[in-house]
């Protein structure tokens, strides 16, 4: 096949786009060396050419006029061509000054055959919908409004002021962007000011072979993207503000104000932190979307510690409210938070879906609803599976022990996206052993054991925890680390030097500090320890409403990756388990087996990262099957 | 035509314009001794020109230069007899080319120039006299589009 050629200037030499090295917008071999055109310019030129619009006395309004198109338009349309920009001085040719936020009324309505702008709307320092609609009004009936805008996943978001350049780059893709558009909610955002199509396929404008020939790569052909060209014909009788109803998303019943897209994470978790932790894992990996939390967990503080706004709603079991009333209140709270944080995505991480949540989702049908639903459900939770109907997207974080999952979620995999295990902190993000020990005030040379069984509502575990603490402290030279939480309360240290109570969050970041751990087998802890290669004695919480921790622990034991002690086991086994845990060679073997499990496949990948990319990037990659 | 028709009219000089010509042309300015007579031969048949030349040359040629004013195209007759002549387009020619020049104005002017040029001591007319000839000259006609 012949080399692709720029259809505007004829050159067949292409380079990379300009911009930051790691910018989200960097693309290779698409910038024409002859005239500087990008894919969108060539696509626009091709469409104009095919439709015979490059001649005849058309009036053209060209904002932020690119030289590759401007020169040609000027030659052909002479005085009928108007190049305009807020900063005319930056152009090597004559450009009229036009401030879109102020000067649009100076142009006569229905006076241009073509209004053209590329990557302008994200820069306007005022209401972009007013500008877009105003530009559309300038187009004559039968004329064309042609434009392109940048997109990032994660929902529309904007900030007209109060952001630094670096913050704008992080959130909107470029230091001078006031906002960024998002494919998922385009209809609700720009689509409310302009009659936008429901989808985009460049091959409907120009045949595929021709697109290749003019170097518009396939990556730009489908889906709303930076090089998607909108070609909207102005209808006879004025503009319409109604966005066309897309098939997948019902139109909202009432007009919505502009919404940047934050994410609202909703979790229950009265005692534990598991659900909240997974949500935090996702939230801290979101680069562009702000996160807010509504939780029923008393561990709400850790959310704040990680820098996210958090709203605590105590479960009615604690408040004594009527469930129906409480659910209404929950729905209202969720609604308020959705509004307040301009959230267009709700991420729910609880096995049981509260009515209040369902109601809230019903009232905000434009909100993207995501259910993080880890596996290992107890059988009697099967009835909760149906709640999946309220969530178009169900994400199941992988479980190392997944092969022994016999719970209800296994059968409901049809629309579940499976992602790798989710952890708040990647194992590689932990402090090195020496640094961690120093941070925790632990001696560098001693043997340190983490004991963390009491931060639960299970009284058996609390009792076992106390016994183990005594056992451990009775052995000379052993240091014991306990994790504090609001639930543990403050008790006195049992040993002045060898008993450490740590409140550092997240504890896992320091987990290289201990040589072994005695923990429960909840999802997060289990995967932290296995992926982290920490020699562990799992004591599963076998409360009926917990996930099937005992299955996980057994699985790990069967793989030689951990030791297992169940509450029902006697004292002798307990002591034996401890002895084994304290043996160096045993620990080495456990670590090796953990490494084998964690390193299987492509090595460690964090499902929280995957979900975060999904929420911001595209779904095209699909979940890991 | 008989000889009588040839008899010169030695009448008074033909009317000359009231004002003298603006400038003196005088073809013989450097030869002041040289005098000239104008003999007009307007409307004369070509064959008769020879005789008139002979006659007038015999009559006046010794003392004066004779300048014949003719509307005939047969210049060789004059040439063969070494006769000096000036030409004015005939009435027919004028009519044919009436749309190209204003004959009455031009010819009137031409006559005055000739008088100034030759400063004739006599003007002798054979055939049609000059005044009638000039009076009959047509004005400029409008050109018709072809």
């Amino acid at each position: 096949m012949a080399r692709p050629t720029c259809n505007i200037c004829g050159s067949s030499v292409f380079g990379d786009t300009y911009g930051e090295k790691d910018s989200a917008f960097l693309r290779r071999n698409v910038r024409c060396e002859g005239c500087g055109s990008l894919e969108r310019h060539r696509l626009i030129f091709e469409v104009l050419r095919l439709r015979g619009l490059l001649s005849g006395n058309r009036r053209i309004l060209h904002l932020a006029p690119e030289e590759c198109l401007a020169t040609l338009f000027r030659s052909r349309f002479g005085s009928r061509y108007l190049g305009a920009d807020i900063d005319p001085g930056q152009f090597p040719f004559a450009v009229t000054r036009l401030d879109l936020c102020r000067d649009l009324p100076t142009l006569a309505p229905a006076s241009f055959d073509i209004v053209l702008h590329n990557h302008v709307l994200e820069h306007v320092a005022c209401d972009y919908r007013t500008v877009a609609a105003g530009l559309h009004r300038l187009v004559k009936p039968g004329g064309l409004h042609i434009f392109s805008i940048p997109f990032l996943e994660g929902g529309f978001r904007e900030a007209l002021d109060g952001q630094t350049g670096a913050e704008r780059t992080a959130r909107f893709g470029q230091a001078d962007h006031m906002r960024i558009f998002s494919p998922g909610d385009l209809a609700a955002t720009l689509g409310s000011a302009l009659p936008l199509p429901a989808d985009y396929d460049a091959t409907r404008l120009v045949p595929a072979e021709r697109l290749r020939a003019i170097n518009v790569p396939e990556a730009a052909w489908r889906g709303f993207n930076n090089n998607a060209v909108f070609l909207i014909e102005r209808q006879e009788d004025g503009q319409t503000l109604e966005a066309p109803t897309p098939a997948t998303q019902p139109a909202s019943p009432a007009p919505r104000p502009a919404r940047p897209d934050g994410v609202l994470f909703v979790s229950a978790n009265g005692i534990g932190q598991g659900h909240l932790t997974r949500q935090l894992a996702v939230a801290r990996r979101l680069k562009h979307r702000p996160s807010a939390f509504l939780t029923m967990s008393y561990s709400a503080a850790i959310v704040r510690d990680l820098g996210f706004p958090v709203h605590f709603v105590p479960h009615h079991g604690l408040t004594g409210e009527e469930p129906a009333a409480w659910n209404d209140r929950l729905a209202a709270e969720i609604g308020l938070l959705l509004e307040a944080h301009h959230a267009t995505t709700l991420v729910y991480d609880v096995n049981f879906v509260f009515d209040g949540v369902i109601k809230a989702l019903g009232e905000h049908s434009g909100v993207q609803a995501v259910w993080i639903r880890r596996g290992m459900w107890p059988a009697h939770h099967a009835g909760y599976i149906g709640a999946g109907a309220h969530f178009p997207i169900v994400v199941e974080p992988g479980d190392y022990a997944g092969e022994c999952d016999g719970g209800p979620t296994v059968a409901d995999r049809a629309k579940t996206r499976l992602v790798p295990p989710m952890l708040l902190i990647d194992p590689s993000e932990r402090l090195e052993r020496a640094a961690a020990r120093q941070a925790l005030g632990l001696p560098q040379e001693a043997t340190v054991i983490l004991l963390d069984l009491s931060r639960s509502a299970n009284p058996d575990l609390a009792r076992l925890h106390a016994r183990l603490l005594d056992d451990l402290l009775a052995r000379p030279d052993l240091h014991v680390v306990e994790l504090q939480s609001p639930l543990t309360g403050s008790t006195a240290a049992r040993h002045p030097e060898r008993h450490h109570r740590v409140t550092l969050h997240p504890a896992y970041a320091n987990s290289r500090a201990w040589d072994a751990a005695i923990v429960r087998a909840g999802y997060n802890t289990f995967h932290e320890n296995i992926a982290g290669g920490i020699p562990t004695l799992f004591v599963p919480d076998e409360s009926p409403d917990m996930d099937r921790q005992v299955d996980r622990a057994r699985w790990a034991e069967s793989r030689g990756a951990a030791l297992l002690h169940r509450i029902g086991d006697g004292e002798a086994q307990r002591a034996a388990a401890l002895d084994r845990l304290l043996r160096l060679d045993i620990r080495a073997g456990l670590t090796a087996s953990c490494a084998a499990i964690a390193g299987a496949g492509d090595g460690w990948r964090n499902g929280a990262e995957t979900l975060a990319r999904m929420l911001e990037g595209s779904f095209d990659e699909g979940g890991v099957e | 035509m008989g000889i009588f028709g040839w008899l010169p009219h030695r009448g008074p000089k033909p009317a000359t314009p009231d004002d003298a010509p603006e400038q003196t042309l005088a073809i013989y300015a450097s030869q002041p001794a040289q005098t000239a007579i104008i003999v007009t031969l307007i409307g004369i048949e070509a064959e008769q020109i020879d005789e008139i030349i002979d006659v007038t040359a015999r009559r006046f040629g010794k003392k004066h230069k004779i300048v014949y004013l003719t509307d005939s195209l047969d210049f060789m007759r004059f040439r063969d007899r070494n006769a000096i002549f000036e030409y004015l387009p005939s009435a027919l020619e004028q009519k044919l080319h009436a749309a190209e020049i204003c004959w009455n104005a031009y010819l009137a002017r031409r006559w005055r120039l000739l008088l100034s040029k030759w400063q004739p001591v006599h003007v002798i007319s054979y055939g049609r006299n000059i005044d009638a000839f000039l009076a009959a000259a047509p004005p400029m006609t409008v050109r018709t589009d072809r």
Partner: protein
């Protein structure tokens, strides 16, 4: 009667090269768009030499794509386009009755050239355009470079057009050159008007156009001897092709690279030749100052960079191909003539339909104008005949009028023309000075009453009286038709050349023998092919002519025309030759007298087969002749040779004649006739006649005569007259015209 046009183009139509070609493209494109256009020719101050109307523009008139406009026409145009500010820097010397909705002056050059010299006075341009056409003036610069050179404050009544009047090229005429990968030796080339300033300095020329024949071949169109003057020796790998109107696209197609560097003293305003090169898809290398105009369509550098730049492309064929594509695309995008129709529609800012013609749709006829042909010619009829040749070829709108000193004036009248006689001083026995005084006065009167648009003078001698009369009419276009092959003694008349607006030189077959005074001046004249009154093809057919002359078949007819003999006695020679001719039993000697031959000048008949006829023009009958014996005056000579009549030329070698012997000598040495000289060859009459009557000899001569490619210069002169009969002059400042 008033007429209506959509667009009136006002221009000096004589510019060579790009300026006129660009205008032709505009006119043609406008016509194709259905617009009714007209062309008003201006004689501007820039071109002093007698350039004819550019053939591309002439063709548009001939083909009816545009109307020739006369300054006396009453006219309304929706748009008046004045091309080139210099043509209106002086006032038009006559009033115009042309109104317009919009008046534009296209500025082809920056106000100041590269050396800071002012190229035109904008105040005068605007004021005169405004006065002449009665409306405000819109200035239309051809590029941003020109636009930027204009002052911020414009003169009164001047406005700036919002858009540039970019140069346009008709891509149909400029096909893309054949796709070819360049390889050493590469062919680099250029084309331009033949002007040494368009070439770089001697120091730089070999850098830009290397002499290394192993790697480069240099082809230059529009290059000839002046390059040797500028540079000394021309490298052997350079090929110089003289300037030509046609086939420039084919020339460009032979090149791999187009390299254009010029002398720093030259200020290139745009460079249309560069545009043409880009249009064909050449890789073009230019000095950096062109980057503003051509952007990435071309490649830039100093002469020292040329070899390196070329090498870069030779090594990278893909880059060559890409650059080539960019070049052509640039022209398509920005300079395609197809965009002109839109541009006009925008500027005219009226409903996009052609103007409704008034009164039936026919454009009014051009007003009648007189053309005054003046000639001397006591002896012979040569000059008059030449003028008749031109007069007959004028269009109906121009009326020839003759003023001649020739006794053959009758010939003009018989052809239906108005004629006046001016007797020569010799016949009058008058002092030349006195005579000139009278002549001046008489001519003045005639011109004043005739008001000719063109005065055409055909004579070797230019009389004082003539120039004095002409001096009173500075606006009349004055042409001197001046045949070459002068004697040295006539050199003094060359001084009168500057009294005329144009000197036209009819071609001389024997031009290589011409070392006379006019030979050095050829560059300043308008050269046309030889002029014949009658085309050889218009002669009577042999059979009809022989029948008309009562010449029986089977007889060899020798025409004898040795001139009037008035100034060069040919009697003895004539008798000898006739005797020889008549010695043979099958010959007829047809002696042709001209109307002005003195009677009975020794022309007794020498026998039965000696006939004497008076024929004018005898050439019409010359198919009847098998051979001829004639003098070698211009008319006769060219008739004999171009008419392929085997002729023994006996030149009239009187002092006042042109060099007839040279003509005859040329004929003999090129096998197109024979030479016999009265004073030298009388003894050889028999031999000459024998050869003349030899059929084989005659056949050779006929063949060689027929091999001459010829068109009648009379046609060229007539067209030249036509093109100059309706011009508006702005080549002099009429405000300075004092009293006579």
């Amino acid at each position: 009667m008033s007429a209506a046009l959509d667009v009136l183009f006002v221009a000096d139509v004589r510019f060579e090269g790009g300026t006129s070609t660009a205008l032709a493209v505009e006119i043609r494109t406008a016509a194709r768009a259905g617009l009714r256009t007209g062309l008003l020719a201006i004689k501007g101050p820039l071109l002093g030499l007698p350039f004819p109307m550019h053939p591309d523009l002439r063709r548009l008139i001939d083909e009816g794509l545009t109307e020739r406009i006369d300054p006396d026409m009453r006219l309304h145009a929706r748009l008046v386009l004045i091309h080139h500010p210099t043509i209106i820097e002086n006032r038009p010397t006559r009033p115009l009755s042309i109104t317009s909705d919009k008046l534009l002056v296209v500025l082809h050059h920056p106000m100041y050239d590269g050396c800071g010299r002012r190229q035109y006075d904008l105040d005068r341009v605007v004021a005169h355009a405004c006065d002449a056409f009665g409306s405000d003036v819109f200035l239309a610069p051809v590029s941003a470079v020109v636009r930027d050179s204009l002052p911020q404050r414009l003169p009164p009544y001047a406005h700036m057009l919002e858009e540039d009047w970019g140069n346009l090229i008709d891509l149909d005429d400029w096909a893309a050159k054949p796709a070819r990968q360049p390889a050493y030796p590469v062919v680099i080339g250029r084309h331009s008007r033949p002007d040494p300033l368009k070439w770089p300095t001697a120091e730089e020329v070999l850098l830009a156009y290397p002499a290394d024949g192993a790697r480069f071949r240099v082809r230059a169109l529009g290059a000839d001897a002046f390059l040797a003057e500028k540079y000394g020796t021309i490298p052997p790998n350079w090929e110089l092709v003289p300037f030509t109107w046609d086939d420039v696209p084919a020339f460009l197609g032979t090149l791999d690279f187009y390299v254009y560097f010029h002398d720093p003293a030259w200020s290139e305003a745009f460079g249309r030749t560069i545009l043409e090169a880009l249009a064909t898809g050449l890789v073009v290398i230019l000095p950096p100052h062109f980057a503003l105009l051509f952007g990435k369509a071309a490649v830039y550098g100093e002469p020292a960079d040329v070899e390196r730049l070329i090498d870069g492309f030779v090594r990278d064929p893909e880059r060559y191909r890409s650059q080539s594509e960019q070049a052509r695309r640039f022209v398509e995008n920005n300079h395609d003539a197809a965009i002109y129709a839109d541009r006009l529609a925008r500027i005219m800012a009226a409903p996009d339909k052609a103007v409704a013609p008034q009164g039936g749709g026919l454009f009014p006829a051009l007003p009648q104008r007189n053309v005054l042909f003046a000639s001397s010619n006591g002896i012979g009829v040569g000059h008059l005949a030449q003028q008749l040749a031109v007069a007959q070829r004028l269009p109906p709108g121009l009326t020839p009028v003759f003023a001649t000193m020739s006794y053959s004036m009758k010939a003009a009248v018989q052809q239906g023309y108005q004629a006046h006689f001016l007797p020569h001083h010799r016949i009058l026995d008058a002092d030349p000075e006195d005579w000139n005084t009278c002549l001046a006065e008489e001519l003045f009167e005639l011109i004043a009453h005739l008001r000719p648009a063109v005065f055409a003078y055909d004579a070797t001698a230019v009389f004082e009286g003539v120039t004095r009369a002409l001096g009173a009419f500075p606006d009349i276009f004055k042409i001197w038709v001046r045949r070459p092959l002068w004697r040295e003694s006539h050199r003094v008349f060359l001084d009168f050349s500057d009294r005329f607006d144009a000197v036209i030189e009819p071609g001389e077959l024997a031009e290589t023998f011409d070392h006379g005074p006019t030979a050095a001046c050829r560059k300043e004249t308008f050269l046309v092919p030889s002029v014949l009154h009658l085309d050889p093809a218009e002669r009577m057919a042999r059979q009809s002519a022989r029948a008309a002359l009562d010449l029986p078949e089977g007889m060899t007819v020798v025409a004898v025309q040795l001139g009037s003999g008035a100034n060069f006695d040919m009697r003895d020679l004539r008798n000898a030759l006739l005797a020889e001719v008549l010695r043979r039993p099958d010959t007829i000697a047809l002696e042709i007298r001209s109307p002005i031959t003195p009677e009975a000048a020794g022309l007794e008949r020498l026998g039965e087969r000696h006939r004497v006829v008076e024929l004018f023009p005898s050439f019409r009958f010359s198919n009847a002749f098998d051979a001829a014996i004639t003098a070698a005056g211009y008319n006769t000579f060219h008739e004999q040779v171009l008419g392929a009549i085997p002729t023994l030329f006996v030149p009239n070698e009187a002092d006042e004649m042109d060099l007839q012997a040279s003509r005859a000598r040329w004929a003999e040495l090129t096998g197109r006739g024979w030479l016999m000289r009265r004073d030298y060859d009388l003894g050889f009459a028999a031999a000459h006649v024998e050869r003349l009557l030899d059929p084989v000899e005659r056949e050779n001569v006929v063949r060689r005569c027929r091999s001459i490619a010829w068109t009648n210069g009379a046609r060229d002169i007539a067209r030249y007259v036509e093109d100059h009969a309706r011009i508006v002059r702005t080549d002099w400042d009429i405000t300075k015209l004092g009293s006579l």
